[in-house]
């Protein structure tokens, strides 16, 4: 492999390694908004197109976040709808900074999530998977499960809260290890 191909391979490695943190960063700047995956992919495209501008050894994550921030702003402008409320921009910036994680920390969370999902009851796990895998509404799950959407919504809230607690507990356990 010549040096150019090697550099490209290393760059792809950096993009790949940072996908999860980049996605989290984008969500932190547009919580609850549609189009996160599109913004992520546009950011990936720009990163690839500008790859020659990246200096190996410098902070890839900071560079990628700067590009993603532009893409989020662009997306928000394009999809601006009067009357739609969101958090103030300065607060979003503050929160985005507060939420920054390294790829290693994010990987730990993904592994912890996997373990915590294993502790859920079968019905709870089905509900979570329906919500995140199918993308369909709770009404759809309601008709199949025989439970009201309101009841499912309460359960979903409780399951997410439990997952959060479980993940934080496992991460604390990891850091307590020698």
């Amino acid at each position: 492999m010549d040096s150019d191909a090697k550099q490209q391979a290393e760059f792809v490695g950096q993009i790949t390694r940072h996908q999860a943190v980049l996605r989290a960063y984008i969500i932190s700047l547009m919580p609850g908004m549609d189009g996160v995956s599109d913004v992520l992919q546009e950011s990936n495209i720009i990163l690839w197109e500008k790859r020659r501008n990246f200096q190996p050894g410098t902070n890839f994550q900071a560079w990628a976040f700067a590009i993603a921030r532009y893409e989020v702003k662009s997306h928000r402008r394009k999809n601006f709808r009067p009357g739609v409320v969101s958090l103030d921009d300065d607060l979003l910036e503050l929160l985005a900074s507060h939420c920054e994680k390294t790829p290693e920390e994010t990987d730990e969370r993904l592994h912890a999530l996997e373990a915590c999902l294993g502790h859920l009851k079968a019905e709870e796990r089905k509900l979570i998977e329906h919500r995140y895998f199918s993308g369909k509404s709770l009404d759809d799950f309601s008709s199949r499960s025989g439970r009201s959407p309101e009841s499912l919504s309460v359960t979903l809230f409780r399951v997410r809260a439990a997952l959060r607690k479980c993940i934080n507990g496992r991460l604390a356990l990891n850091t307590a290890r020698p």
Binding site: P31, L95, T106, D107, R160, I167
Partner: protein, 467 residues
């Protein structure tokens, strides 16, 4: 806010279903409570992890480049409306990883952040070029942003959107529309650019070309010289040297215009193209339409501009542009006298707004321009607006190019109105001076128009820190 309510609000936020009242309450909590920000972080990462898991991406092992390409392909096709057979250059995202060595391309290109483009190829040998390259027959459509072109011959170009170009030969670029700057080294003398109005042959130089629909094409020469051939009417040829500019007049002659280096970029910008500017263009067959829109209280009212290049016959005066009078002061036979400004291509008006009440200049919120006359063409409008921040230098904010009255009969009247605003509420902040330059409109005598009213609205800039 108690813990349960906070968590419910955070979950609703990431679900996209938090109402206004909840948003305000959550915002207050997030600003004031470090614990709330920690909870926000937890739910953000939980939401992200669940979605990643649902999408089936193993972040540790899978290179999602194929997904990138697939999406890019779909989006570009949708954006540009290309046929299914079109091949996007960005397929090179993957191919570049596999094929380290490719034959030298006739032209390679790079783009600035936020650029949206599509590339289609017509390969004679059936082989699609790999990477961000153009071969003879390749077409690049740029709907947003800027691209840098690097020809194998050493020619370098910067093209701004909107643009549509086709590489006809390695030394001939067809620019259907767009604003392009080129630097041609000595070894590439003879390089040509064609537009719907002209063919330019380089004689060793640096130059800019503007080609727009309903607009006569322009050439600006910064170094060396070029040979121009007008493709219309008389098909005049002219050699233009450094420091001069021409537009291709529709009868086939070349007309002098002021040289404008600031209309062109000579490098890729590192920031995305401005997207939030909102332009509303309206026209009417009634010469006196929009009379009630003229303002006598905007920022320009009462200001005396520095003016150059205007026609002053028939009582026309650029000073009347900001008098707040439109329609009310005409004579009984409309059009007898010019109550307003009579442009010439390249005429300028510069208004000094000053530093304002806070010493920080003005935030411009909207701009309204009205043109009209009792016969075709003069009621259209074409102009460029530049703004100068306090202590800074001029930059272009917008170019209006509005020609809806071209088909109107000579006996009819008509008016146009162009209004600029910005989704953010502010077009430009901290501005101390603005400059308008008249462009050329189609189908009127000397490509002039009659500018009736120009209103600029805004307020003194406020220090966000309250100092």
């Amino acid at each position: 806010m108690n813990r349960r309510t906070l968590e419910a609000h955070l979950q609703s936020l990431f679900e996209g279903c938090l109402d206004r009242e909840g948003m305000l309450a959550l915002q207050h909590e997030l600003r004031s409570s470090p614990e709330a920000r920690d909870a926000y972080s937890d739910y953000l990462h939980l939401h992200n992890a669940l979605q990643l898991r649902a999408e089936g991406i193993d972040m540790l092992h899978v290179v999602p480049m194929d997904r990138i390409v697939e999406r890019r392909h779909r989006r570009s096709l949708r954006d540009a409306g290309l046929s299914a057979a079109a091949v996007l250059a960005l397929a090179a995202l993957v191919m570049a990883l596999v094929i380290a060595r490719t034959p030298p391309a006739a032209l390679t290109f790079a783009s600035s952040p936020g650029t949206v483009l599509a590339v289609s190829h017509l390969p004679e040998d059936g082989k699609i070029p790999k990477g961000q390259v153009l071969q003879p027959g390749s077409r690049l459509q740029l709907s947003r942003g800027t691209v840098e072109l690097e020809f194998a011959s050493g020619v370098r170009g910067i093209v701004r959107a909107p643009a549509d170009l086709t590489l006809q030969r390695e030394d001939l670029l067809q620019l259907a529309n767009g604003t392009a700057w080129f630097e041609v080294p000595a070894k590439a003398i003879g390089f040509q650019v064609s537009t719907p109005d002209l063919i330019l042959t380089d004689l060793g130089t640096e130059f800019g070309v503007i080609s727009e629909d309903n607009f006569l094409d322009e050439v600006h020469v910064f170094k060396g010289k070029v040979e121009l051939l007008n493709l219309s009417g008389l098909k005049e040829k002219e050699t233009v040297v450094a420091g001069h500019a021409r537009f291709a007049e529709s009868a086939g002659r070349w007309k002098k215009i002021p040289l404008r280096r600031d209309l062109f970029l000579s490098g890729l910008p590192d920031k995305e193209t401005r997207l939030s500017l909102v332009t509303v263009e309206e026209f009417s067959g009634n010469q006196f339409a929009y009379a009630s829109d003229a303002s006598g209280s905007d920022l320009l009212h009462g200001l005396v501009p520095k003016a150059a290049g205007w026609k002053l016959e028939n009582d026309a005066s650029p000073l009347e542009l900001t008098d707040g009078i439109h329609g009310a002061g005409f004579q009984e036979v409309p059009g007898d006298m010019v109550q307003g400004a009579w442009t010439q291509v390249g005429a300028t008006l510069e208004y000094d707004l000053g530093a304002g009440a806070n010493g920080l200049g003005y935030d411009l919120t909207s701009i309204r321009s009205i043109a009209d006359w009792n016969s075709a063409g003069f009621g259209n409008q074409a102009w460029t607006l530049e703004v100068r921040p306090v202590g800074g230098s001029y930059r272009i904010l917008h170019t209006a190019n509005y020609h809806p009255l071209i088909e109107q009969s000579l006996s009819g009247g008509g008016a146009t109105k162009v209004t600029l605003s910005d989704e953010s509420g502010v077009l430009a902040a901290g501005i101390e001076a603005i400059r308008f330059t008249a462009g050329h409109v189609a189908n009127s005598v000397d490509n002039a128009f009659v500018w009736r009213e120009l209103d600029v609205f805004g307020h003194p800039t406020v220090d966000p820190g309250g100092r």
